[in-house]
């Protein structure tokens, strides 16, 4: 057990920090489009510095970073108060999935523009009637000559309006059981058949979108991993979903907590034992999250498969983030209930934490069945 960074990890971190010193991310402009364009530029700068796809193999322009280094990257990104690169879904999900299942032509065609943010990716998995139940999705793909013609609706698609490509899972065979008839497509977003409608969240922001797909065409060569193999390919995408990102979220939580403690200190509230008790509690939870995330990395690096820790960090993070936001509202009163205040935003935004990327209920199912080996109830699923 050695909870300091190894020499090579420390060197990686120092190199990155040095790069951040020179390449100050600056301040993101307001306005969705401006912010997005800025994040795209930011990714280009990262890519130029060789920092965009740190966990990608060198042959694809990455740094071949270990899991820990990848975690360090996101920790440092958070510490530098830099935003996520614009094409985060391409870097974390589409890229690794294409590396795993793509043909040589597909790798050649898609990977490089992901890295440079020249082509942004979005994810078309969720559907209105298949929230937690991927296998129940209804979007259909029908073969027509060399193309597939796709019809259906997707939801919770973030960044769709900026995306060139969509990781789309659709049903290609209606005659086989639910998860068997699925195929994974790389769908061009720039076509008539794809309409995007912003989906406004309770924060008032349109962070996600709905996709209305009506006769969109995808050539056969854009099938990833083979027809009928979509379930397996999609699982690969989902497995990659929050490997490194967990550290970004964890650092962001830590920053929020530190800022709240500072704010409490400025208001002279730290001397209130009830406040102190709660701060001690939240600090404990934040540290447990951080440490458990690192334990999870050790397990993956050593054994190649995630241990129980990996399935717990999303749950820990979302719960703690909600508790933190609620405590901030208690502590700061009217300020934290006024639109424009960051805590007011967190109080709303954090409610999504236990829903997005797998509800806490589904995560508990997964922990119970896959980690603890508990039997599945008839009619229920994870």
């Amino acid at each position: 057990m050695d909870l300091t960074f190894s020499d090579s990890e420390a060197a990686f971190r120092d190199e990155l920090r040095a790069w951040f010193e020179i390449n100050d991310p600056g301040t993101m402009p307001t306005g969705d489009d401006a912010a997005y364009a800025w994040r795209r530029d930011w990714q280009r700068r990262l890519a130029e510095g060789g920092w965009a796809g740190v966990h990608w193999p060198r042959e694809y322009g990455g740094r071949n970073a270990t899991m820990t280094e990848s975690a360090i990257f996101f920790e440092e990104l958070g510490r530098a108060r830099a935003p996520l690169p614009a094409n985060v879904l391409g870097l974390l999900l589409a890229g690794p999935t294409i590396m795993t299942y793509g043909t040589d032509e597909q790798k050649e065609r898609y990977l490089s523009p992901i890295l440079t943010a020249d082509e942004i990716w979005c994810q078309g998995f969720s559907e209105p009637d298949a929230g937690s139940d991927l296998a129940a999705l209804k979007t259909k793909a029908v073969k027509d000559g060399d193309d597939w013609v796709i019809t259906g609706q997707k939801v919770w698609t973030s960044g769709a309006q900026y995306s060139k490509w969509c990781m789309l899972v659709a049903r290609t065979d209606l005659d086989v059981p639910k998860h068997k008839g699925l195929t994974y497509f790389l769908m061009d977003m720039e076509q008539e058949g794809v309409q995007i409608r912003p989906l406004v969240q309770i924060t008032g922001e349109p962070e996600f979108n709905e996709l209305f797909i009506e006769g969109a065409r995808v050539p056969d060569e854009n099938v990833l991993g083979g027809v009928g193999n979509g379930w397996r390919v999609a699982l690969t995408t989902l497995m990659n979903e929050r490997s490194g990102l967990a550290f970004f979220l964890q650092v962001r939580l830590r920053q929020l907590l530190d800022e709240l403690i500072e704010e409490a200190a400025e208001r002279g509230l730290l001397d209130d034992p009830v406040v102190a008790d709660r701060i001690g509690y939240l600090h404990m939870k934040a540290e447990i999250l951080r440490l458990t995330a690192y334990r999870g990395l050790t397990t993956i690096e050593k054994y190649g498969t995630p241990g129980p820790e990996g399935s717990l960090t999303k749950w820990m993070w979302s719960e703690t983030n909600q508790e933190l936001a609620q405590f901030a509202a208690d502590l700061l009163g009217a300020d934290a209930l006024t639109t424009g205040n960051r805590w007011a935003y967190e109080l709303l935004r954090s409610r999504g934490n236990t829903i997005e990327g797998g509800t806490t209920e589904i995560l508990k199912n997964i922990v119970a069945e896959r980690v603890l080996g508990l039997p599945r109830l008839k009619g229920a699923a994870a």
Binding site: S126, D129, A130, G131, S132, D133, A136, V155, W156, L199, V200, Q201, I202, G204, V274, Q322, Q326, A329, D330, G333, A334, L337, T338, T339, G340, A344, L347, L348, R351, G352, T354, I355, E356, T359, T360, E361, K364, N365, G379, A380, A381
Partner: protein, 337 residues
């Protein structure tokens, strides 16, 4: 010992439920919230029904009913999530009605009862609901003493709270402005507090019902999601929180008139229970709705936002728990009380 409403009270509840379900549907609430403007027709109608004056003495033009009737209405307005200065106005009337000087009462209560003017009560450091349009503001100082201010005597800065179904403002007034309430500020605040608790109970009830309807209908893995214990037990918890808050709130409303000696404790019980319950139940409602619950399009977020702001009005649950402990300690050492 009878917790049931009288027939008259049940009639008030039913009238309110019926009226508000058409006049203040969630579509209308959304309209008001998104348009940042109350529906004046709704307010006129409430005024015509005499609701703002329901608990104001008849001599001041009110209906002379009590805190229980007011709680019933407040609960229903919370259930409807009505966008209206009702809560602000009746809480001001409660405060002035119990603790105002005869002059303060004569000056303000008839105006509030008739709906000619609206009022509000709030803390100097907090969000004050509907202060921008209020003719009279009861402002609670750091010392717990409440002053009565005419609108012109106060600096009112409207702010957008996270709850767009209700207007809010920050209020400041120099110490020389306004006039202290003649009577017991604590009693005035307690009566107003019960009204807020009642609204929270209504909000929680609505969140529970919306959630039940949703989870009975929504299917995942070929099963209504409400059949899963992860969801059904959450709903059971929502019922428990809602009913617990309701028990405490009805008790406080009853005590306000029938046993005012018990009001300090009862009001804090009610507000602590309703603040916690309202927040937890509406948060659970969002969660049980899944992704849909996190969208602006669904209505469940209005309830969460109202509950969050109401929970902070006139003291959050922590403040009231601390007060309950003080009251209990004082009972042990009456001399120190």
């Amino acid at each position: 010992m009878n917790f049931d409403f009288t027939e008259d009270q049940q009639e008030i509840k039913k009238t309110a439920r019926d009226l508000l379900s058409s006049r203040s549907s969630l579509a209308k609430v959304r309209e008001a919230a998104e348009g940042k403007a109350y529906d004046p027709a709704l307010w006129s109608e409430l005024v015509e029904l005499g609701w703002p004056g329901i608990a104001i003495a008849e001599e001041h033009g009110g209906q002379g009913l009590g805190a229980v009737e007011l709680a019933i209405l407040s609960e229903e307005l919370g259930y409807a999530l009505a966008a209206s200065p009702f809560l602000a106005t009746v809480t001001a009337a409660e405060a002035i009605g119990i603790a105002g000087t005869p002059e303060q009462q004569a000056q303000w209560l008839p105006l509030l009862a008739s709906g000619e003017a609206t009022g509000t009560i709030g803390s100097a450091g907090g969000l004050v609901p509907d202060a921008d349009a209020a003719a009279v503001i009861v402002l609670i100082g750091e010392d717990g003493v409440a002053r009565v201010l005419a609108r012109a005597e106060a600096e009112v800065t409207p702010v957008d709270s996270i709850d767009p179904t209700r207007r809010a403002a920050r209020v400041y007034a120099p110490p020389t402005h306004g006039e202290a309430l003649g009577g017991d500020s604590a009693a005035a605040i307690d009566r107003a507090t019960v009204v807020v608790a009642a609204e929270l109970v209504g909000v929680a009830q609505r969140a529970l019902e919306m959630t039940l309807a949703y989870v009975k209908d929504r299917r995942q893995f070929d099963t209504p999601v409400g059949a899963y214990q992860a969801v059904s037990h959450k709903c059971a918890q929502m019922l428990k929180d809602t009913e617990g808050a309701r028990s405490a709130t009805y008790f406080a409303a009853w005590a306000a008139d029938a046993e005012p000696d018990r009001l300090p404790e009862a009001a804090s019980l009610a507000k602590a229970a309703a603040s916690d319950g309202g927040r937890d139940v509406t948060a659970s409602a969002i969660q049980a709705h899944g992704g849909i619950g996190f969208t602006w399009e669904a209505d469940v977020h209005w309830l969460y936002k109202r509950a969050q702001v109401d929970a902070a009005l006139l003291g959050g649950s922590g403040t009231h728990r601390a007060r309950l402990a003080r009251l209990l300690a004082a009972r042990l050492q009456p001399a120190a009380a």
